[in-house]
């Protein structure tokens, strides 16, 4: 399903980033980092039209030959980025949205942990589990 899932702090440093083929980790880091350009562009575009403020899903950030990068931004400007293999054509927009929602819920749980210091990298087993689920699950 997803090949890389990243959570990026408001200040644009990674809180969590995991990718499936580990040998390509670096490439995904670059990809996710670059995608922040589009995230910022989209956020500022949303900011202009106050109407759809509530829409957190940013949609396809940019496609590359091999991957599709989707974005999502919480109200506290924490960004989620999901990278999907382009050859995986079965994934529809709705599925991506639901993945983001799941991710957001799990992220909220992490933030609710009183022992978690907001701004620290996420080191939660539960969150890890959710992410693993999204990466392995087929279809």
């Amino acid at each position: 399903m997803a090949v890389c899932i990243a959570v990026i702090a408001k200040e644009n440093y990674p809180l969590y980033i995991r990718s499936v083929p580990t040998q390509n980790e670096l490439k995904f880091h670059y990809t996710v980092h670059t995608s922040l350009d589009v995230v910022e562009e989209k956020i500022s575009a949303v900011g202009k039209s106050l109407g759809d403020q509530r829409e957190l899903y940013l949609g396809l950030l940019y496609p590359t030959e091999d991957y599709k990068v989707y974005g999502y931004v919480t109200n506290s400007k924490v960004k989620f980025v999901i990278v999907v293999d382009s050859s995986n054509t079965s994934l529809r927009d709705n599925e991506i949205r639901s993945m983001f929602r799941k991710l957001h819920n799990s992220f909220t749980d992490v933030m609710c942990n009183p022992f978690h210091n907001p701004g620290d990298p996420i080191q939660s087993k539960a969150f890890d589990g959710i992410v693993s689920g999204m990466m392995t699950q087929t279809g």
Binding site: E11, L26, E40, E65, T89
Partner: protein, 1262 residues
């Protein structure tokens, strides 16, 4: 349309719906121009089937001569050539002619139409005035040709025959008839469209539904649906046309996806053929007939189909003025095609797709540039930049594939590959043959030589980067820059590469992306090594050696790089200075001793904890910390200051941002806030005016944040240049090996000179390399002090009690002074506080850390004047402690000692006793004067003692007999035993004081009192003045008799003798047994003189009998409101100066209550008439009495006043004080001493019965 300036084969634009014309061609030709002009002039509403929104369209038509071949044959699906309307033109006005020729012609026409099932026809009859005129003979218009035609052909469809009147005339009638004709034509055309297109669409849908059948071919279907698209395009319904293509696109995509899912369609086989041509998209023609033919023949490859589809979509989108959608779709298409080829497992020559993508990208960009002006392009970079970047990417990979990037140039294998790739491009298309910069030419050129490739690649890269920058996508721009850097590196140009890498690194560092940071830094290290920028390279190596993202081998490699350099024999003495932060972190600093404050010359150790970040153990030649030295003024601040520090100064923890792997938040936050409370108190009454919080390190927090990163982050791109400042003093340790992780380095700090030492910089030297920590923050200081000897004396227990032996502690801080053997303290002795000799007095010697280092017995020698204490030898900065017992003698009352002189000749100050505010005890300050050997001045010390007792005495009388009572109150917190209570009289030995105390010893507990009583007996005469001394011994409870200490109290008693006795009687009213409340009764006061006049006693007057008398004033004063005095309450009596002389006074009083009432009080005072008063100096007490007396005088003078009832002697002082004249003429009153008047009826009571008719019960609640 923008694209009209180009002149490709405009196929579609010339297509118009075909309308055939039959009948009179000459007539039609004469009307053609105006018809063709006027038909599209007004829009018509086209109502659509299937709920599609109605549209307004301008209709145009292509009028052609009717031929039977034009009519579509059965099964022909072509729509473009489909005649939508058939017109028969005639201007026949002659019935005869009509009947003979025209009708037949029409019938033939109708028949051939009917044969082909075409029902869209109209007959136009043109009427002119001329023809009408000719026809004048003809009868009714009803029977005109038109009617005939209508009746012949248009049964029920009258609207199929239209009359056009005077078409060539400019008249309203002509115009109206034109309008109605045009309206009719348009309506009919639309009806035909609706009908025919509807039928076509139905057929098409049916065909589509058959797609699961085995023989179905996508290409065939494609052609059919495209026909529909063409028609819509023809009708200028580009939106609808685009929909047709999008549907085809989606359908094809779905088939490919299904193929991927294992559902193969036969017809897909042709698309799976190996790709032989990759000449890119062609967007310059509205219709690429070449490709279309290929599709029609079923020979097109996937790329052909996609290219054709996209070119059509592109054309329509441009018609729709949506060029930016083209770019977006193009990028999707290119990605998609690559994926689809992969999915279909089409074999492709390596690099051919790259060629195709590259060419396509450029083609799209050219197309867009062709229809937009420069400003529009610039404003919409965001839409095109993706294509630019994609093209750049592809060119780069092509270059790599063809060996154009390497330093050596392409190999023969590379060249072969290039030839193969170029072959697949085919020939250049005719449209671009003559243009200088076609994508085809670009690619060919780029692949032809290394130089050309470089030129094109750089051009593209820079274009992409600039666009990214322009739209603010800096990260993307940097990524392109990084890829450019990689290119430069391969070309062997590290200098250019580095600048791009540094820029990229800066962004990764600032945003805390550790993996890209590590990767980029590694690349930079490579650059720097190639550029032999040793210092930078070593710095980067150090960073990498400490980078946890790298494998330990890589880290060791970089560490070894540094060590190798460091070990090189330095022919030049230049040392490389690097920032310490990347090498090791200072995590903790500890002082031993922890106070960080030592006396000069003492041993002070500083322990640094360094966390070494290197993967190997590193041998350091020298670790040095430079010190800044400040001389304190005076240099004797000593320990007190060290204790005032807010935090434990012994250990300083340095906080660091964790490592390069961590988020930058901690480092970007910078130093943490250091806050202090402040309280602003008013200086007068210490109330709080304001409270607040101040930040102590604003200078660090409120720094202006420059664009570059703060220098103290370990992530910094290029560590700041650090300069090692040579301080005068250094902490140095040689030859330390730092293991990975925490290491402790122990320094011995210099402490010769008193002052403050601040640690400034830290420097570790490894051969040629120095690691420098430019600032140690928070700043770390230690103090070296020099101290004068100090002697303090303090009580061992609080409070010190006077009269008992008490221990006091002597503490000597030697400071810089060394106590040698034989040195002694000289204490001046005083009588009031002797030092008690004690046998064993031990002195304890402690070192600065308060550890006991020695004990020795003191020798104390007392002479008359001084006590000398020999001190044991003590080293400097040690503490000498010993205890001595002293006794402070309680001063006994009003004893006036003679002046004493101290040993040094000073007049001794009497220890003055005073009452202390904190305790009820009376305090005495006792001073000690000590001569110390280290000073020429005597040390004066004060001890405060407290007297544990308060003593009071009183004289009691019973008639002539006298008693003395002494009350001793214990005001201390200690319980005592009081013994040997004694009272003596000093001057009159004949006087006998008979003790009435039974116990010899009495406990006197804290806060309790003991009363002692003596009766005074005398033989001849009682002296009027007694000087008594009360003495007792006391000791704390439960102590040995020997511990009892004396206590004395002196007091004087004067005017002891009883002069008068006063007796009062209450007499019930006459005839009554008892007094009743509310009834007057008599009060008889008798004053009796008890003693003979003494020598000093003056007689004021002489009686007529020759007796000496003195005047007394009595006053009945009832203080408890029990009695009402009726009449005079006071008066003056003359008493003879003779024993047993009695004077009686009768006063009327009335009891106010029933019960046992105490007698009213009777006061007797000495009355001094004004003549006598002159002699006696009035003392302050009697002056006070005067106030009330003056009024009494008045009442004496004013006899009319006597009737007024004056209750309880309350005095209405009507400004008496003001009226009083301080002068000679005033008579005065003088009180007697307590022993001089004895009141017999003191405390007596009398029974008062209630009034008989008293039915009112008075309740007095107070």
């Amino acid at each position: 349309m923008e694209c009209q300036e180009e002149k490709p084969i405009i196929y579609t634009m010339e297509n118009k719906p075909i309308v055939t014309c039959a009948g009179d061609q000459g007539l039609f030709m004469s009307l053609y121009t105006s018809l063709a002009q006027q038909l599209p002039r007004e829009p018509m509403e086209w109502r659509r089937t299937y709920g599609r929104a109605p549209k307004m369209i301008h209709l145009e038509a292509n009028f052609v001569q009717f031929k039977e071949e034009l009519l579509p044959k059965e099964g022909n699906k072509a729509l473009l050539t489909f005649p939508f309307l058939h017109i028969y033109w005639t201007d026949c006005c002659d019935t005869e002619v009509y009947k003979t020729s025209v009708k037949e012609d029409m019938l033939r026409w109708q028949n051939s139409l009917r044969l082909h099932g075409s029902a869209d026809w109209v007959i136009i009859v043109v009427e002119t005035n001329d023809t009408k005129k000719k026809n004048k003979t003809n009868i009714l218009p009803r029977a005109s040709i038109v009617d005939k035609i209508r009746s012949d052909f248009c049964n029920k469809q009258n609207d199929r025959c239209v009359v056009l009147s005077d078409p060539l005339k400019d008249s309203t009638r002509s115009q109206e008839s034109w309008n109605s004709l045009l309206l009719k034509l348009r309506t009919l055309l639309l009806m035909s469209f609706t009908k025919n297109l509807g039928r076509f669409e139905d057929d098409m849908r049916t065909l589509r539904e058959k797609r699961t059948q085995p023989g179905w071919s996508f290409c065939e279907y494609f052609m059919v649906q495209e026909e529909l698209a063409f028609v819509f395009e023809m009708l200028q319904q580009f939106e609808d046309a685009l929909v047709q293509y999008d549907e085809l696109d989606a359908l094809f995509t779905q088939y490919v996806l299904n193929f991927g899912a294992g559902d193969t369609a036969n017809w897909l086989g042709s698309f799976c053929a190996p790709v032989r041509s990759w000449n890119g998209l062609l967007l310059r023609r509205p219709i690429d007939m070449e490709k279309r033919d290929g599709i029609q023949r079923g020979e097109a490859s996937l790329l052909d189909l996609r290219s054709y589809l996209f070119s059509r979509q592109c054309t329509l989108l441009i018609f729709l003025l949506r060029p930016w959608e083209v770019t977006q779709r193009a990028l999707e298409l290119l990605h998609n095609c690559v994926q689809e080829l992969r999915l279909l497992e089409v074999s492709v020559l390596e690099g051919s797709l790259d060629c195709w993508v590259f060419l396509s990208c450029l083609e799209v960009l050219h197309r867009i540039e062709g229809c937009c002006d420069q400003a529009q392009l610039a404003a919409n970079c965001s839409h095109t930049v993706g294509l630019w970047a994609y093209a750049t990417d592809k060119l780069k990979s092509l270059g790599e594939l063809c060996g154009l990037v390497s330093e050596k140039g392409p190999t023969s294998e590379d060249l072969n590959r290039t030839v193969d790739l170029l072959a697949g491009l085919g020939d250049e298309r005719p449209e671009t043959v003559h243009s200088l910069q076609s994508p085809y030419k670009k690619l060919k050129e780029a692949l032809s030589s290394v130089e050309a490739f470089e030129r094109h690649y750089l051009e593209l890269s820079h274009a992409a980067m600039e666009m990214y920058r322009a739209i603010g996508r800096l990260r993307s721009a940097r990524l392109v820059g990084k890829s450019l850097a990689e290119f430069y590196m391969r070309k062997g140009d590290p200098e250019r590469a580095e600048s791009f890498l540094q820029e990229a690194l800066k962004s990764y560092v600032s945003e805390g992306w550790s993996l890209p940071v590590t990767h980029t830094r590694k690349q930079i290290a490579e650059c720097q090594k190639l550029l032999s920028r040793t210092e930078d390279y070593l710095q980067t190596s150090a960073l990498l050696a400490g980078d946890l993202n790298l494998t330990s081998e890589e880290r060791k490699h970089f560490c070894q790089e540094i060590l190798t350099f460091a070990a090189k024999a330095g022919e030049d003495s230049h040392k490389v200075t690097l920032s310490m932060a990347v090498f090791a972190q200072l995590t903790r600093l500890q002082f031993h001793p922890a106070t960080a404050s030592v006396h000069s010359g003492a041993d002070l150790r500083v322990v640094l904890t360094l966390r070494c970040l290197m993967p190997l153990s590193v041998r350091i030649q020298q670790v040095a910390a430079s010190i800044h030295f400040d001389v304190d003024r005076g240099g004797t601040r000593g320990r007190s200051k060290g204790a005032q520090r807010p935090t434990n100064p012994g250990t300083v923890e340095f906080t660091h941002s964790s490592s390069s792997a961590g988020p930058p938040s901690s480092s970007s936050v910078g130093p943490s806030l250091e806050l202090d409370e402040i309280h602003d108190r008013s200086p007068s009454d210490n109330t709080l005016n304001s409270a607040g919080v101040v930040c102590k390190n604003t200078h660090l927090l409120l720094r202006r944040h420059d664009s570059n990163t703060p220098p103290d982050t370990p992530n910094c791109v290029s560590p700041p240049a650090v300069a090692m400042k040579e301080g005068a003093q250094m902490l140095k340790v040689q030859d330390v090996t730092l293991e990975p992780g925490n290491n402790n380095v122990i320094f011995t700090a210099p402490s010769e000179q008193p002052g403050t030492y601040t640690l400034r910089q830290l420097c570790a030297t490894v051969g040629q390399v120095q690691f420098v920590l430019p600032h140690i923050y928070p700043s770390v200081q230690y103090e070296v002090y020099s101290q004068e000897p100090q002697l303090t004396v303090e009580p061992l227990s609080e409070p010190l009690l006077a009269g008992l032996p008490q221990k006091v502690k002597f503490t000597l801080l030697t400071g810089h002074y060394t106590v040698k053997k034989g040195v002694a303290l000289q204490l001046s002795n005083t009588d009031t506080m002797p030092i008690l000799p004690s046998t064993s007095c031990t002195a304890h010697i402690r070192d600065p850390a308060a550890e006991l280092v020695g004990e020795s017995v003191l020798s104390i020698q007392s002479s008359e004047k001084v006590t000398s204490i020999s001190l044991p030898p003590t080293p400097p900065y040690h503490t000498l402690e010993f205890q001595l017992e002293v006794l402070c003698i309680i001063p006994s009352g009003s004893d006036r000692p003679a002046n004493e002189r101290l040993t040094n000749g000073e007049v001794r100050h009497r220890p003055r006793s005073y009452s202390h505010p904190d305790t009820p005890m009376t305090a005495i300050d006792q001073r000690m004067s000590i001569d110390c050997p280290w000073s020429i001045y005597s040390t004066l010390l004060a001890l405060t003692f407290y007297i544990p007792f308060k003593t009071k005495h009183s004289l009691l009388s019973a008639g002539n007999r006298k008693y003395i009572q002494v009350c001793v109150q214990n005001v201390s917190d200690v319980n005592f035993m009081l013994a040997e209570v004694k009272l003596t009289e000093k001057q009159h030995p004949s006087l006998e004081l008979l003790s009435l105390n039974t116990k010899t010893q009495q406990p006197l507990c804290s806060k309790h009192s003991v009363f002692c009583l003596w009766e005074v007996r005398w033989k001849d005469d009682l002296p009027s003045c007694l000087q008594c001394v009360f003495s007792a011994t006391f000791s704390p409870l439960n102590q040995d008799i020997s511990a009892f200490k004396p206590f004395h109290y002196q007091f004087n008693l004067e005017r002891v003798t009883t002069l008068y006795s006063v007796r009062a009687e209450i007499l019930p009213p006459a005839g009554e047994q008892h007094c009743r409340s509310g009834f007057l009764c008599g009060l008889e006061v008798s004053v009796t003189r008890l003693s003979e006049p003494a020598e000093g006693e003056l007689a004021e007057e002489t009686d007529t009998d020759g007796l000496k008398t003195t005047k007394l004033m009595y006053e009945v004063a009832d203080s408890s409101s029990n009695w009402a005095v009726c009449g005079k309450s006071s008066g003056i009596v003359s008493m003879p100066l003779r024993a047993n002389a009695t004077h009686k006074v009768q006063i009327e009083v009335m009891p106010l209550f029933a019960g046992h009432l105490p007698f009213p009080k009777i006061k007797v005072l000495k009355y001094l008439p004004h003549t006598a008063a002159v002699a006696i100096q009035p003392d302050p007490d009697s002056c006070v009495e005067n106030d009330s007396l003056s009024l009494l005088d008045k009442t004496l003078d004013d006899q009319a006043d006597t009737a007024s009832i004056r209750s309880r002697g309350s005095v209405h002082s009507v400004g008496s004080g003001d009226q009083q004249q301080k002068g000679v003429a005033m008579p005065r009153l003088e009180a007697f001493s307590p022993g001089q008047v004895f009141n017999n009826s003191h405390a007596r009571q009398v029974l008062v019965l209630p009034a008989t008719d008293d039915h009112i019960v008075e309740v007095n609640a107070t």
